[in-house]
């Protein structure tokens, strides 16, 4: 019996816009084991960030269930949710925009501790802040600096320390390294991995960078226009990508090696609008294998191999 921390069932998030209903997340289902990492990949506008936010109820889900430690958190009150958020945290993409410019590093990290009234006296709180700073590799002398004085890598460390302040069990990392230089990116990825090992954290790792997600995740969900097109273990997904979109996505990564050039699948056109989507497979207009039925019926997510799910009418033929 596996230890499931988070289970998401048929999660939907629609936004009403003047042009119609925007289907940002359209029926997402997955289970996440304690201590594991689920990677969510896809391109701009595929609904990956909305997914992360809907799970934390930063966007109220339109329908579906989010079961965290056996409790459906979409049904609980705002007050209970606030309390529960101490166990579910988020690390944001932009370390420049997600920190209050008028607060010092220690004030930012102490914010969740203060909100949840963890410590009665200031000294204990200050001690905890220093502990957290050490944990994420921020030197003590930065305690009274402001975010603008620091570089992107250090700012992201502040964001991580803040997320860790309440000893969460689950952290949504929304593109935590995409704004950083490669050498700094590797430092932050290693830090996140160490923290997971030491603190037993469970991550949902949202990114557009496939080499990062492959390095980081146990399982990967590939999204396209609000739908899951493929869900498999990282090893499986990279060894046997099945959905035509996953294949194109993997082939599009520029590989930093001059040997073994692979065949590049160039996709036609661009992502279509998620507003009032047409029936049928959402990838059909760009898919080279699309047949008539692809434009009529939306393919179900089917288990092709144990643990390998694909949403394509012709998945068994690839």
């Amino acid at each position: 019996m596996s230890d499931i921390l988070l289970e998401v069932k048929d999660l939907k998030k629609y936004f009403e816009t003047p042009a119609g209903t925007l289907h940002a997340v359209d029926g997402l289902t997955f289970k996440l084991e304690r201590g594991k990492t689920l990677g969510v990949v896809g391109e701009s506008g595929c609904g990956k960030s909305t997914t992360g936010r809907a799970i934390l109820r930063l966007h109220e889900p339109t329908s579906g269930e989010v079961i965290f430690e056996g409790k459906d958190i979409t049904k609980i009150s705002q007050k209970e949710m606030t309390k529960l958020r101490s166990e579910m945290q988020m690390i944001f993409q932009d370390p420049f925009a997600s920190l209050n410019p008028r607060k010092t590093v220690s004030e930012i990290i102490a914010e969740p501790l203060r909100l949840h009234k963890i410590y009665k006296n200031k000294e204990e709180q200050a001690k905890r802040v220093l502990e957290l700073m050490e944990l994420v590799g921020l030197s003590e002398r930065l305690v009274n600096t402001y975010p603008h004085e620091l570089d992107g890598g250090r700012r992201q460390r502040i964001g991580i320390a803040r997320a860790l302040a309440m000893n969460p069990k689950f952290i949504v990392c929304d593109e935590p390294v995409s704004a950083l230089d490669v050498s700094i990116q590797a430092q932050i990825l290693n830090l996140l991995k160490e923290l997971q090992r030491d603190l037993g954290l469970t991550y949902m790792f949202i990114t557009h960078d496939l080499s990062v997600v492959n390095y980081f995740s146990d399982e990967i969900v590939v999204m396209y226009l609000g739908k899951v097109v493929e869900h498999a273990s990282s090893v499986d997904l990279f060894a046997h990508p099945t959905h035509p979109y996953t294949k194109a996505l993997l082939s599009a990564i520029p590989v930093p090696s001059i040997h073994g050039k692979k065949e590049r699948i160039l996709l036609k056109g661009e992502i279509t609008s998620p507003i009032n989507p047409k029936p049928g497979c959402r990838f059909a207009p760009r898919c080279e294998y699309a047949k008539e039925c692809c434009f009529k019926d939306s393919p179900e997510l089917r288990e092709m191999e144990p643990g390998h799910f694909v949403a394509c009418h012709f998945a068994d033929q690839f």
Binding site: E43, D181, A186, A248, V255, P256, E270
Partner: protein
């Protein structure tokens, strides 16, 4: 090999910016050559001086606060610093054009894309407005945008299409040198693949030389012939693709490769470069990379490495490759 023709030759370029926080030494003696029809990749992290190098070629460094303190940039046999401002205007967009990183902010939002491309043509060629617009439409077709959309405004296009418009604009006057400053960083991978493919095709068609500025070694492997690795305003390693990828010599280049997750061997741990880029107002003594270098010795803290040729095509700036320094890259030192 004296018969090699270069589209641009930069010799010992130095650029500094005077700011309230002190003098920023952005570029400290850069040498760079691009052979005609070839692509050079300029790789480095934020603040390495990549964009400043590119802007120097077009003489677009704002002065003040920027100042080119030494060096020469030779375009087609003539030093660009000797051109008048008027002559420079003729060069920009005609002889040398540039594609900027952010397609969202490099187009004018209140002018139709057809007119924006036609403006470039009219500036450089004797052609009437109608003819220029016709040519603009042809160019749009060439980058895969229907000519009928020439009357639309930038906000009506997606990011990938805007970048295609910019590519059309950059190539419309058939420049000898195209400078592409992180042209696909703002785009999704599948769109990036489309845009890179398009740039390759057009470049081959017109025989344009290119300076490709990027931080992505994957893109370098795909589009470049030669690579220069830049750190703290200096080229620390230069070579052909094979030199850089298979015979990586400089510890910084090695660090860059170590920082990238390997898509084939996912279990391999990342080996990041410790520390941060040095402050360009206060560069360290000796080799600027020594505070982050795992091989650094006492000598590295005081002596600036010079360029050492490893072969006809491969050069590196590191004391370990200079004779008699006693620095080695073998045994790790604390």
């Amino acid at each position: 090999m004296a018969d090699k023709q270069y589209s641009v030759e930069i010799n010992d370029l130095a650029v500094r910016f005077s700011t309230v926080d002190g003098v920023v030494h952005a570029i400290n003696g850069v040498d760079l050559k691009i052979e005609k029809g070839k692509t050079l990749g300029l790789v480095g992290e934020t603040g390495a001086g990549k964009t400043t190098t590119a802007l120097s070629i077009l003489r677009l460094i704002p002065n003040p606060p920027g100042e080119i303190t030494s060096g020469s940039i030779v375009l087609e046999g003539k030093n660009v610093f000797e051109y008048s401002e008027k002559e420079m205007e003729n060069i920009r967009g005609k002889q040398v054009s540039m594609i900027f990183q952010d397609p969202m902010t490099s187009l004018n939002p209140v002018i139709t894309i057809g007119d924006q491309i036609a403006e470039v043509i009219q500036l450089h060629e004797k052609i009437d407005a109608k003819g220029a617009l016709e040519k603009a439409k042809e160019m749009l077709e060439l980058v895969g945008i229907p000519g009928t959309r020439a009357g639309e405004y930038p906000h009506q296009f997606s990011g990938g299409m805007k970048q295609r418009v910019i590519i059309a604009m950059a190539l419309v006057c058939n420049p000898q040198l195209l400078i592409a400053d992180e042209p696909t960083t703002a785009l999704d991978v599948t769109i990036q693949a489309q845009v890179l493919d398009l740039m390759q095709k057009l470049r081959e068609k017109y025989g344009t030389s290119m300076l490709m500025i990027t931080h992505d070694l994957g893109i370098v492997a795909e589009v470049c012939d030669e690579v220069s690795i830049m750190y703290a305003g200096r080229i620390v390693e230069h070579g052909t693709l094979e030199d850089i990828f298979d015979h990586t010599s400089h510890p910084y280049t090695e660090g860059l490769f170590g920082s990238l997750p390997n898509i084939e061997k996912r279990t391999e741990a990342l080996k990041p470069i410790p520390g941060l880029m040095p402050d360009p107002t206060n560069l360290p003594e000796g080799c600027p990379f020594h505070p982050r270098c795992k091989y650094a010795t006492e000598l590295c803290k005081t002596r600036m490495p010079v360029k050492t040729d490893l072969s006809d095509t491969h050069s590196v700036r590191c004391l370990a490759y200079e004779e008699g320094t006693g620095v080695t890259l073998g045994g790790e030192k604390a």
